[in-house]
Amino acid sequence: MRVPIEWLWDFVQFDLSISDLAERLTMAGLEVEEILETPHGTVLSLYITPNRGDCLSIFGIAREVYALLGESCQPTPLFWRLSEWILNPPPVEPGETAQYARVEVLDPDLCPRYGARVIRGVVIAPSPASVQNRLLAAGMRPISNIVDATNYVMLELGQPLHAFDLDTLSQQTIRVRRARAGECITTLDERTHRLQPDMLMICDAERPVAVAGIMGGAETEVTEKTQNILMESAHFHPRSIRRTSRTLDLSTESSYRFERFVDPNLVVVAQLRVCELIEEWTGVAPVLGMLDVYPQPLPMRMLGVRLRRAEQMLGFPIAPQEAQRVLERLQLQPKLAEEGFEVRVPLFRPDLAREIDLIEELGRILGYERIPESPPTGTTTQGKDSPEGAFAERLRTILLGAGLQEVVSHTLEPENPFQTAGSGVSEQMYQPVALYNPMSEELSFLRFSLLSSLIRTADYNRRRGIRDLHLFEIGRVFALGEQSYYEWLHLGLLMTGQTHEPHWSEKPKPVDFYHLKGVVEYLMRALGMAPRFVPMNGHDPRFHPGRCAYVHDKDDQRLGVLGELHPSLAQTYEFRQRVYLAEFSLNALLHRAVHTVVYRALPIFPPVLRDIAVIVPQAVPVGQLLDTLKEVGGDWLESIQLFDRYVGEHIPEGWHSLAFSLVFRSRERTLTDEEVNERVDQMFHALETRHGALARR
C-alpha cells in the first residue's frame, strides 16, 4: 500500500517528521517498509496485514494516524465528514436514476449490496494535474477523468468502483448473477476467460460485462466516445472474489481489497464521493438518486471489554481514562459498562470479533513497550527432548566417533532410481509420494529413501573435486501405502573414496564393503545390539547383487540394509569409484537398542590364549565358521578374532587360509592347558567335519 504524504494531509495534519510517523505506524502494526522520494512527492510504502482490509486506503491510514497520535494531530473537516458518512451513511432514494438504469441482484449471497448511479453527458478528458500526480504517486497510471475518479476514490476510501459506458449495456440493465456454463468474457486486459458456474458476474440483459469485483469487460468500458456512465459501487463476498481471482489467475487492486472485506457502507459513501469529484472536475452532476440493492443490511456488532482482563492478558496496568480515549479514537464509540466498556464495532473492522481483539487494540495503541518481562509463574514443567530427538543425538555421538560427517539435505527431489524400495524394513508395497503442484521436475517428489539424498550429496561434492566422503544423515522419508501416507525417520550412511587423507607415513586405501560393515557393526554394538548380516533373497536394484545384505538384530528383526551401489547406477551417476551405502529405520533401531546398562564384574581368572589356522574353500561363508567356533567353544570362549586371511602360494585354488585368535577364560576357576587343548581339538574337528576345513597345525 502506497501512501503519498501530501494526500494523507487531506485528512490529518501533524507536526511529526515523516520518519517519526513511519516509526509510530510500524510500531502500531502498520509496517512502513520504505519511505520513497518520488517525482510525485514523498510516499510511504506500507505492508498491511491480511486482517486489516480497512487500512488499504489513504483514509484508512489517516484513521490509524488519528488513533495513534490523538491530541497531537489535527483531523480535517473532510476527515470528519467522511467518518460520519461511513459510521452513519445518509439514506438514499432511487430518484430519477431508475429511469435510466435497472439493477437486479440474482445472487445476493455473493453480492450482498450493489449500488449504481448514472451520470449523463460527460466529456471524456484527462483528469486535473493534481489528481494525476496523486495517482502516479500511489502507483497508478492516469487514464481519463472518469476512470481516474474511480481509481482515486478506491485509493482514498478503499472502495473499488467501476464505470460502465451505459449505452453499451443491453437494456441499460445490470444483472448480478453467477456465470452460466459456456459463457466467456474478454476483460480490460484483453484476456478472454471461459467462466465457471460458481463465478459471480456483472451482466447486462444478455451477457457478462464484468468479472464481479475483479475486472471490467472490454466491450462496456469507458472510451473517448462515452457520454453516459453507469457507476458501480458494490460489496462482494470476499471468498467468492478470492476463488474466482485464483481460478482465472486475475488479481487486481480491486480483488485485493474485496478479498480482505470492504465495508458495505462504503458502497454509498464512495458513490457520493466519486460523483462529487466528477462534478468538481467536469461540472457534470449525476442524475438525482441512486439505485441501492441491499436486502439484508449487516448489523453493527456490540462488544464488551473488561479492563481487568485486558490488564491480565497484556501484563501491564491501564487507567480507565486512557482505555476510553483509545477506544474513542478508534471510532468504537465506547460506553462505560460494569467492568469496563461496551463498544459498537464499525463494519470496517470485521477483525474485531471478540474481547481479546479489543484487548489487542488497547495494547497496540498504548504501545507494547509497556509490556514487562516476567518469567512464567505457577507449576513448573519438566523440560525434555522427544524420544526420537534424544535417540538421534545418541546416533550422532556414535557416528561422529566413527569418523562420519553429518549432512542435512533436501526433502524434495526429482524422480530417481532409489524410489524402488524403502529401508528394506518392511515387506509392504509402497509408492513414492509425488507433489500435486511441484515447482519443477527437479522438486517433484518427496524423498523415498535417504540414499538418493546421499548420492546427490556425493555427486555434488565430486563435481567440486571432493571424492573422499564418509557421511551420515538423519532425516524423514515418505511413502504412499494402500491406505495412507507414511513418514519415517531414517538413518543413512555413505562411504566412498579413500579411508583417509594421503599422508607421507601411510598410504590411504580405497574404502570397501568391509569398511562400511565395520561402521555398521560399531554402531550396532554401541547401541548394545549384536548385528546379523543376512543375504538378500529378493532383488534390490539399488545394490550390487553380490555385495549387499540386510542388517538384523539377534532376534532376526530387520533394521536396515547395506551394500555397494549397483555398478549400473554408479555408471549413471558417473562415479568412477565404488560407493557404499546403508540405510536404517531409526524407529527400528530405537526399539531394539539397549537403553539400560547392567554392570558385569571384571574377570578375576587368567585367560588362556590360542591361535588356530585352517584352510577352507572360499565358498564356505566365514560367518558359518565363526558360528561353529562359538558354538563349540562354549562359555569358555571369551572372544574370537579373525586376524589373518591368506590366498596364494601353498593354498589350493578356490581355498583360503584363515587364522583365528581365541581367548578362553572361565569365570569360576583357572583353566588348565590340557582342558583348553581338548576344547581346541573339538573346534578343529567341528570345522573339519561340518565345513570341510583342513587344520594347519
Binding site: L314, G383, V433
Partner: protein, 334 residues
Amino acid sequence: MESIQSILEQAREAIAQSSSTSELQSVASRYLGKKGALGQLLRQIGSLPPEQRPQFGQQVNEALSQLARQIAERYEQLAQQELKAQIRAELLDITLPGVPVRPARLHPLTITARQVKQALIGLGFEFVEGPELERFEYNFGALNYPEDHPAMDAQNSFHVGNGWLLRTQTTAIQGRIFEEVQRGERSLPLRIAIIGRCFRYENVDATHSHTFHQVDAFMVDEGVSMAHLKGTLTQFARLMFGPEVRVRFRPDFFPFVEPGVDFAISWKGGWLELGGAGLIHPNILEHYGIDSERYSGFAFGLGIERIPMLQYGVDDLRLFLENDLRFLTQFPVL
C-alpha cells in the same frame, strides 16, 4: 697359575677399552662369571695347601668385587653416552604433518538445533515430533485460519492431494497436542516445543528457500500473559545470543494468536526481526474444550537457519542443504 694381579691388570685394560655397554657386558662375563678368569682361579684352590686356601679365596673375592665396582662405574658412563647418542639419533622433524583424523562434524543446523533445544528444555519445554507431511486441517484449519483467507497467501503450500500438504509451519503441532489434552493423554499446564522442517512454495535465493526449519514453542496455564511471553522470549534470546540482548514486540497478524506480534532482538545497534509470537487465540483453546477464561497461553516461532546466519555470518541460506564439505567442515565442534 696366573697371578691375580695380572688378571686384574688385563681386566682393567679390557674395561677401559670397552666402547659400548654390550662390549662391557662381554668383558664382565669374561672376568666375573663362574667360567671367567677369576672363577677359573678359584676353581684351582684345591691344588693349594689347606693353610693357604682361606687367604687365596679372600684375595680372589676382593679382586672380584673390585672388578665388579669398576665395571659398574664404566657401565654407568657408557650407558649415559649411549642414551645421549640415541636421543641425538632419534631427533624428529616435528614440522612434518601428523597423521590426519577425518574431519567429522555435526551439521551446522544440528549445532543450532542443539542450542535451541538446550535453551528451551532448560525453560521447561518438552520437545515433541510432528509430521512434515501434514493434514491441511492441522496446518491451517486448527490454527484459526478462516477458509480461503488471504492470510494463507504468505504460506503457499505444496500439496500431495487428499487434503495433505507439506506443513508450512511447525505450529501445525498445536492442534495435535490439544487433541491429546482433550483425550486426557496430556494435562494442563503444558509447555511444548518442536523443531522441524517446513516447506513453502517459494523461489530459492540467498535468503529464501522452499525448505527451511522452524522452532515453535507454546505454553498453556492459568493467567499466562504477554508479559510471560516477553519474559520467556527474553530468556531464550539471551541464552542464544548473549546476556545483553533485549526483546521488542511489534504488532503483527497470525490467525492463531491474539494479540499477535513479531519479536525482534537488539542486534548491532538496531533491531532484528526474528519471529512471530502472541497469545494463543481463545477460539483455538475453546475448540479443544479448554476454558479460555481460566486458561490462556502463549506461542512463539522462529526460523532456525536465521540463527547460524547471525551467529556465524553465513550469507547464503542455500549453503545449509547443499552439503558442500568445504562449508560443513568449517564449523567448530560446539
